[in-house]
């Protein structure tokens, strides 16, 4: 009998902005190739009972900031349990702006939807348009603007208290930033895209337990304080804005991540190797993205 990996998929109907179900499909597929069965428990409603006791890996897809307070409210009674889950080396994979759910706090901009400019909303057409990261002045009482248009502090909007599982300050960006994103994570190069709604500031970058998820090879990192870093990782808890879905487009990382989770949760299990030829489409897709990125015009403030 195969060992079973228990995955809890939190609120897929609410947190589903960027094809996030793909990440769960990738976990199933890769785990299967590694010789694991998977049991995915889908938690749909905010009022549903949720039991993390047997969970090996929790998946939280990208969601709207507007829903974060409701999700935090639903999970607040589990914060201590989730903290122990992370400390035990079990998995937590969070995408996009849903990092606000697991962070310490999130500063929203004043009057959501008013301060955030849709950069280039007039439509620039082809290659001759202005950069989407053009800055705009904000009356924010001393905030600082990042090279690519985000800003930290003093915006005067609502503060959302998160679950505090990862020690991050999150700030909603004035401008949405959408682009390709290439990260170096350990020995792996990860390819995807980003729709950056928030900037992150790690609570203590020198804390060895909590480090950036990846080094930015191309794209925009966490914000002006950590422009070359992206996301955060504490043990096997990861929050990243690498979308794609990232676990579909980078199955070599999915494999190594699952291996890390299994070592912590089922150390007795021997995992099968997956022949690299299995990922032919993904390798070709990643190469196509890298070739395209290499041909792009430079955007100020973006690692290239």
């Amino acid at each position: 009998m195969k060992p079973t990996l228990d995955i809890t998929w939190l609120y897929p109907g609410i947190l589903n902005l960027h094809g996030d179900r793909g990440n769960v499909m990738a976990l199933r597929r890769v785990a299967g190739l590694m010789g694991l069965d998977t049991r995915v428990t889908r938690v749909d409603r905010l009022t549903d009972e949720v039991d993390f006791a047997d969970t090996d890996l929790i998946v939280i897809g990208a969601g709207e900031l507007a829903v974060v307070p409701a999700v935090v409210g639903a999970l607040s009674g589990h914060a201590a349990e989730l903290g122990r889950h992370i400390d035990a080396g079990k998995g937590l994979y969070v995408s996009g702006a849903s990092v606000a759910i697991v962070a310490d706090r999130t500063q929203r901009i004043q009057a959501p939807g008013t301060g955030r400019s849709s950069a280039g909303a007039g439509g620039s057409g082809g290659g001759g348009g202005s950069a989407a990261v053009s800055e705009r002045s904000v009356n924010d009482g001393g905030s600082q603007t990042t090279p690519a248009g985000g800003r930290f502090g003093g915006s005067g909007g609502d503060v959302i208290e998160g679950l505090g599982l990862l020690h991050l300050d999150v700030t909603e960006r004035d401008e949405i930033y959408g682009d390709d994103l290439i990260l170096q994570v350990g020995r792996e190069t990860l390819v995807g895209m980003q729709i950056r709604m928030v900037d992150l500031r790690l609570g203590d970058p020198s804390d060895p337990a909590e480090q950036p998820f990846g080094r930015v090879v191309y794209g925009l990192g966490n914000g002006s304080w950590q422009i070359e870093s992206e996301g955060v990782r504490r043990g096997n808890a990861i929050a990243t804005n690498l979308l794609g879905p990232a676990l579909v487009r980078n199955p070599w990382f999915t494999q190594s991540y699952l291996r890390d989770v299994v070592i912590a949760t089922h150390p007795e299990v021997e995992l099968a190797d997956i022949p690299d030829a299995t990922w032919q489409l993904e390798r070709q897709g990643a190469q196509a993205t890298r070739s395209f990125v290499a041909s792009k015009r430079t955007v100020p403030g973006v690692i290239q």
Partner: protein, 480 residues
């Protein structure tokens, strides 16, 4: 009935527009100068650059007077309609305009889809007198959802119709709540809002308007099968943010719904409902009357329903509405056909980064049970700088219906996205040996792949620009 506004003195300047004190008095000399330059530009553009006629003259006039929109006269707010939303606003706008004109009413509009400020300015420059007075009784405009608030601040329409609010152009919009907030701020107690009863975000907008008229479509033969697995359709409730539950759906994210968290739900019967559909006989029923269904894709029904609501509220009777539906031809149709080297290619339009239109396209293809080849081009997103690659929205779609609808082969094309898009079908379980990848945006290899398709019937799903490029190339090759 209110009197037409003569200028907008006393109203706040539109958000994002300079105040009149800094740019000239609305209706004053600067406005007239901008208007006349715009009219002259429109005449010249019409002769020398006809393809830029929907936008350029307004752009020039707005450079002279940024708050040009607020300076026009003779616009009756009670006879001004804005059609907005994520999907379907062009078709809905064109249909409503056609219904009004068929009923003998004069209408100024932006039929070509130039729905931003400068496009609307162009419409007004072309449809006003030399003093800036509207020459039509009605002003009916498709308005970009991002710009609705500022356009309505300049032109205080009392009728706003919202087709739907869905995931779209995430590089610009981020998430649907961003657009939702923009639209709801454009509403107010003086507005009648026409809402899609079966689309939760649109349906919830009534709380921000003085009056709400709902339109909808009853469950019909092409309603999607609801799933309870990974593909279960749902979204965050716009009121309480719990998960909406759909009882059935006519389109992705559009159907009978309720929120178990707060009780928000679609009305059992909307004010205007298409209550029966016969796709085979191309007809539908609404309020006891049968109408011609000119376009048989399921999403068109919501355009017809919206039009029925707006037109009926404007006093257009069922006979005139029927005549309008009989004679309506959509501009830039979403379903077109051409023949290439013995292949019957049926084009199904989709929008960039818009999973609902991709899902509708998939549903249209899957509804045809004949043997077919499925050709998909998810293009590079080249909307604003930086251009980038995004195929994530393909994972928002349920493609598995294709597996049982006699798709013999799949072709994925595009220099940057074809491999990742193809991978979506392998995740659905489609045999890899029946997937062809053309990693190019050049027409020739794509058309070669179409010519080599194992079936006579070919469905082509891509953006309109790529379709037009392929169609033109196919026509050229056919002539040789």
């Amino acid at each position: 009935m209110s009197k037409p506004l003569d200028g907008v003195g006393g109203r706040s300047p539109a958000e994002g527009l300079p105040s009149s004190s800094s740019t000239g008095r609305p209706g004053g000399p600067r406005f007239l100068f901008a208007l006349w330059v715009g009219k002259l530009a429109a005449a010249l553009i019409g002769v020398f650059f006809p393809s830029r006629g929907t936008n350029m003259s307004g752009e020039i006039a707005c450079r002279i007077m940024p708050d040009l929109l607020a300076g026009f006269r003779g616009i009756d707010p009670d006879k001004t309609y804005f059609i907005t939303g994520t999907n379907g606003k062009s078709t809905s706008n064109n249909l409503v305009v056609h219904a009004f004109r068929t009923a003998g009413r004069t209408v100024a509009t932006n039929l070509e889809g130039a729905n931003q400020k400068t496009g609307i300015a162009t419409t007004l420059v072309k449809n006003t007198t030399w003093r800036g007075r509207l020459k039509a009784d009605y002003l009916i405009l498709e308005v970009d959802e991002r710009n609705l608030e500022r356009v309505r601040a300049a032109i205080p329409a009392r009728h706003v119709a919202v087709t739907n609010i869905q995931k779209d152009q995430v590089q610009r919009n981020g998430d649907p709540d961003y657009i939702y907030q923009k639209i709801r701020r454009a509403l107010g107690p003086d507005v009648t809002v026409y809402v899609n009863n079966e689309e939760p975000r649109s349906a919830s907008l009534g709380q921000y308007a003085g009056r709400t008229i709902s339109f909808g479509v009853a469950r019909n033969e092409r309603a999607s099968q609801l799933r309870r697995d990974d593909y279960a359709q749902t979204m965050a409730c716009p009121i309480c943010h719990d998960a909406i539950e759909f009882q059935w759906s006519n389109l992705a994210g559009v159907g009978r719904f309720s929120c178990p968290g707060c009780g928000f739900a679609s009305a059992e019967t909307p004010d205007y409902q298409i209550d029966s559909v016969d796709y085979a006989k191309r007809r539908f029923g609404m309020a006891g009357r049968t109408y011609h269904l000119g376009y048989d894709a399921a999403h068109f029904l919501y355009n017809y329903a919206l039009c029925g609501a707006v037109a009926s509220q404007a006093g257009i009777d069922a006979d005139r509405l029927a005549r309008a539906y009989d004679s309506f031809t959509n501009v830039g149709g979403r379903l077109e056909e051409f023949t290439y080297q013995g292949k019957k290619v049926r084009y199904v339009r989709m929008k960039q980064e818009n999973p609902e239109t991709v899902q509708s396209a998939i549903d249209d293809v899957a509804a045809d049970s004949t043997s077919k080849t499925f050709v998909v081009g998810l293009q590079l997103v080249h909307d604003i700088i930086p251009h980038y690659t995004n195929t994530a929205y393909f994972f928002d779609c349920d493609v598995e219906a294709l597996l049982s609808s006699h798709v013999e082969s799949c072709v994925f094309f595009g220099a940057t996205n074809s491999f990742d898009a193809a991978n979506r079908m392998t995740y659905a379980g489609f045999p890899a040996d029946r997937i062809v990848v053309v990693d190019s945006d050049q027409p020739r290899p794509i058309l070669d792949a179409i010519a080599a398709a194992p079936t006579e019937q070919v469905y082509l799903v891509t953006m309109i620009g790529m379709y037009e490029t392929l169609r033109a190339a196919a026509d050229r090759k056919g002539e040789k």
